[in-house]
């Protein structure tokens, strides 16, 4: 673990980071290695092009949105701390521990993950997924054979089904109600576990 410690000492404010995100030192070191390998020019910051270089991410239909989520506050670079904070959303949740309701919502709880996903839908950040935004998402996820008209009817149907207060958009509360089952928990193990 000697190398772990030496890498840890390179990162500023690493204890605070660990406390905030709940990652273990080994995880932080791994993420740091990954950060460094993505940061080809060694500037200490990542830019959108660095993410773009990940081939498989390019294939992902919502890859660009995911990249955008890293740069959400209008900056065009992301440093290691922000990188880790965003990835912390996907650390496996400890569901069994009884949570103290007075503490703030842990960053990797189910609700936080859903909120993160919701933000990826809701690009203009008005707190609702409008019909146009949904249409965009559908367009990027569907393959070639689906026509525009079919997409529009799917979008209409989706909103109709989920929209309870009839404002022709899906708010976060309505989004939460969709029973998404085990999707969120199943695959997280691949991400952050050893």
């Amino acid at each position: 673990m000697g190398s772990t410690n030496s890498t840890l000492s390179k990162i500023p404010n690493v204890e605070e980071l660990m406390r905030e995100t709940g990652f273990s030192p080994a995880h932080i070191v791994r993420l740091y290695d990954r950060f460094e390998s993505l940061d080809k020019e060694k500037t200490g910051h990542l830019r959108p092009e660095d993410f773009g270089a990940i081939n498989r991410l390019a294939m992902n239909p919502i890859g660009d949105r995911i990249i955008g989520a890293f740069f959400s506050s209008g900056q065009d670079t992301v440093d290691f701390h922000s990188f880790v904070r965003i990835l912390a959303h996907f650390r496996p949740a400890e569901n069994n521990r009884p949570r103290d309701p007075s503490l703030p919502e842990p960053v990797n709880s189910r609700i936080s993950k859903l909120k993160f996903a919701f933000q990826l839908y809701d690009l203009d950040k008005d707190g609702k997924i409008s019909r146009a935004e949904l249409l965009q998402v559908l367009r990027s996820m569907m393959e070639m054979q689906v026509t525009e008209e079919q997409l529009e009817s799917i979008a209409d149907r989706t909103i109709q089904e989920a929209d309870l207060d009839r404002d022709d958009a899906i708010s976060f509360e309505e989004f939460r109600k969709v029973p998404l089952g085990d999707t969120l928990t199943l695959t997280q193990q691949r991400v952050a576990s050893k």
Binding site: R34, E49, F90
Partner: protein
């Protein structure tokens, strides 16, 4: 409908009858032979005997009439018999697939063994001596190499390498554990009074243990084929069966050597370890050398395309033989040769040679596998057998027990180092799928009768163990897997929201996973790749093709396929610019179901519409990389893990989105505008403002303001675009410009639908100019 069924049934019955008659007819000549072994000169002896009866006696009676028609069986006996066996094997394979229900219940390997038993029985009944068909020489030199080469050539490298640690653990330590556990306990049992086995010493027992503990690749392949497990498990068990060959060879030779001497010292054990390293690494090295030779040779074959496949086969076979010559692990040599050869050879050879290699390998390995199982059956009948209840039953039980303990124990240790852990269900499949096969039998057959008086007993036990694993485990593994499988939620009742959002989240998580990357493998794999690209590819791949040639040919192939699919499905929607959206309406008609009463209080959507939407969703949502996709060795699909595939998918995506844009563009009245700046200016402007595509919020001020230059669809630029698109692999920069302008004109909220196009700027792929000059592979 019934008539059709009956007719089909009668046809099948007829074919089966023909096959059975053929079987009968072939038994006699086969029985008449003494051995199909290549090196044995006994065939000549039999031939002479037959000669006397056949009356080819021109020499004694020179005045006899000239024989117009004569029978000379001995002349062609050997090749005739070989061909008969091969034909028999192939007909059997055909026959099984005609009986629908049987092939579902019983795995093919079992049926083939039964056929072998029948043939052997028939031969014995006919009073002839059963030929020793599973002679070790024939088996190891002729029957085994095609299967291993096929496996090695089509080995999915990436999953194999990702799991190499696990595989090696199972192969080396697992096999060692099995061998010593089984051998040792067997010896202990033999020492018990009353079993009449006390003459069996320790070393022969250990030798027996090492023979029987090796998982057999042929049997594993044959059975796993049918149960469609996921790729990870397949590669684990299969990889283990391949790599344990080195361990088996070393143990076998070690114990065989020293059984005469009666004891193995520590020095010998140490030498054994050294031997193991040499055997395995040496085998791999030999294979790699031959592989590189083959790749290098293929660099020069551009003028003699016809013999290209031959090089691959011959070099691989020579690698196998060379390794066997030094008593190195021939199997590992073959695997290494196939795996090393493939990427370079495929870049050099023509498309047709590539297909030829694929098909020949699949054909040979298929026939080989069938023959091996039939021969197992025949050899069982041939005997000689020495049945000993204790020995045999203890062997079978011990093998199963040691396998389970070994797998569980090793998994416990391995899981500490794995990212994707092996679940209990996985462990069960790995343990239960450890089948023994013909390799064990041949190794037993090789034993010297004089040194090992209990050889027949060993052989009987080996055969029983093989039968047990293939029949019992092979037949029951499928129902057990189904039983243990996690039941999926009923898809039909999911709401549309669920489907969309679940898919979205799946993409999201996959994306995050990709960002995090695979730890540990990253650095050296990158370095290896770079080394590969810089030096090796230059040497071994002809001409300028090492850039990214197969991508283009690949893309063409895919395009053809897609075009054919489109035509066949009758829904050719995407004809740009000419066909407006009316064509797309036709797509909706066939999907409509007879109208049913709407049962929900949703005004606009009737139930059939909802069904239609669901159907569209299900079939069209892009699937993320499915880790649980079943793996089938016999399908000749493109390896989706190849780098070319992902590049292809990327380009396909761009093409899709461009085509969507094109159809939309066709709806608008186009004002023929003056031709705009040269493409280079546009490219320059684009290159200088890459960030435009990455602003998610996109305040109105950032809308690309290049509205002045409007290129109508009929303008020469866009027409070229479409043509280029159908011909080449996608001209990236020109698309982007058109799209940007088009966005401005339609005044939609700027959506960064396709920053994928922009990624090409950072993507080190071939640029436009290069693509035009690139020669297409013939």
């Amino acid at each position: 409908m019934e008539r059709l069924l009956r007719r089909g049934f009668m046809e099948r019955g007829f074919l089966l009858l023909v096959v059975l008659m053929f079987l009968e007819g072939t038994v006699f000549p086969l029985g008449a032979a003494s051995s199909p072994d290549i090196s044995a000169p006994d065939g000549a002896g039999g031939h002479e005997r037959n000669d006397d009866h056949r009356g080819i006696d021109n020499y004694t009676f020179p005045k006899k009439a000239f024989p117009v028609l004569s029978l000379d069986y001995g002349h062609i006996q050997m090749p005739f018999e070989i061909s008969l066996w091969v034909l028999l094997a192939s007909l059997m394979k055909l026959g099984f697939h005609l009986i629908p229900r049987l092939s579902g219940i019983v795995p093919e390997s079992c049926l083939l063994i039964v056929v072998g038993l029948l043939v052997g029985g028939l031969i014995k009944l006919a009073g002839e001596e059963v030929p020793p068909v599973l002679d070790s020489k024939l088996f190891f030199l002729c029957l085994l190499p095609p299967i291993i080469l096929d496996a090695g050539y089509f080995l999915p490298i990436r999953p194999f390498m990702e799991n190499i640690g696990t595989i090696l653990m199972f192969a080396v330590i697992g096999t060692l554990w099995n061998a010593f556990f089984v051998g040792g306990l067997l010896f202990a049992v033999c020492q018990i009074e009353g079993t009449h086995l006390s003459q069996v010493e320790l070393l022969p027992c250990l030798l027996f243990g090492s023979i029987i503990s090796a998982v057999d690749p042929v049997a594993v392949l044959a059975v796993f084929e049918e149960i469609h497990i996921n790729e990870l498990l397949h590669i684990l068990v299969f990889g283990e069966s391949l790599l344990n060959d080195a361990v088996t060879v070393v143990l076998y030779h070690l114990f065989e050597e020293y059984s005469g001497a009666g004891e193995v010292t520590l020095m010998d054990a140490f030498l054994g370890v050294i031997c193991f390293l040499i055997v395995s690494l040496g085998g791999v090295a030999v294979g790699a050398i031959y592989g590189i030779l083959a790749a290098f040779t293929s660099r020069f074959t551009s003028h003699t395309r016809v013999i290209e496949p031959l090089f691959v086969f011959v070099y691989s076979y020579m690698a196998y033989l060379s390794a066997e010559m030094f008593h190195l692990s021939g199997i590992m040599a073959l695997i290494a040769c196939g795996a090393v050869t493939r990427p370079y050879v495929e870049a050099n050879i023509s498309h047709k040679s590539h297909t030829t290699i694929k098909y020949f390998l699949k054909m040979w390995s298929s026939v080989s596998e069938t023959l091996i199982f039939i021969f197992l059956g025949v050899a069982t009948v041939a005997g000689p057998h020495a049945w000993n209840w204790t020995f045999v039953s203890v062997t079978v039980i011990l093998c199963l027990v040691s396998r389970v303990i070994g797998v569980v124990g090793l998994t416990f240790i391995i899981n500490k180092f794995r990212i994707v852990k092996l679940t209990t269900k996985d462990q069960f499949i790995v343990a239960y799928g450890g089948l023994r096969g013909a390799i064990a039998f041949s190794l037993g057959y090789l034993l010297d009768k004089d040194h090992f008086p209990m050889r027949t007993m060993f052989l009987t036990a080996i055969i029983t163990e093989i039968f047990f694993t293939v029949f019992v485990q092979g037949m029951t593994i499928k129902p057990l897997v189904d039983l243990l499988a996690v039941k999926k939620k009923q898809e039909a009742k999911r709401s549309i929201n669920e489907e969309i959002h679940t898919q979205f989240l799946d993409h999201l998580l996959t994306g995050i996973e990709d960002i995090c990357g695979h730890y540990g493998h990253h650095h050296w794999k990158d370095k290896l790749n770079r080394f590969n690209k810089k030096y090796i590819k230059k040497c071994l791949i002809a001409g300028e093709r090492y850039k990214e040639p197969q991508l283009i040919a690949f893309y063409h192939k895919m395009e053809f396929k897609q075009a054919i699919e489109l035509v066949e499905s009758g829904g050719g929607v995407k004809m740009p610019a000419a066909m407006p959206l009316q064509v797309s309406m036709q797509n909706i008609q066939p999907k409509k179901q007879p109208p049913m009463a709407a049962d929900r209080a949703l005004p606009q959507f009737t139930k059939n519409r909802e069904e239609e939407i669901r159907k569209i969703l299900r079939s069209n949502l892009q699937k993320t990389r499915q880790r649980l996709r079943s793996y089938n060795r016999h399908t000749l699909v493109a390896d989706p893990y190849e780098d070319g595939w992902s590049e292809y998918m990327l380009k396909k995506q761009r093409m899709i989105e461009l085509e969507k844009k094109m159809t939309q563009m066709s709806n608008y009245l186009t004002v023929p505008a003056a031709p705009s700046d040269s493409p280079t200016m546009r490219r320059a402007r684009l290159a200088s403002d890459p960030n435009a595509f990455y602003t998610i919020k996109a305040p109105p001020g950032n809308v690309p303001t290049i509205q002045v230059e409007l290129a109508s669809p009929q303008s020469p630029d866009s027409v070229n675009l479409v043509d280029e698109f159908s011909k080449k692999g996608g001209s990236s920069q020109k698309n982007t410009d058109d799209r940007k302008e088009e966005q401005g004109r339609m005044m939609k909220p700027p959506s960064n639908k396709n920053p994928g196009l922009l990624r090409c700027l950072s993507d080190p792929g071939p640029s436009n100019e290069d693509e035009e000059d690139e020669p297409f592979l013939p």
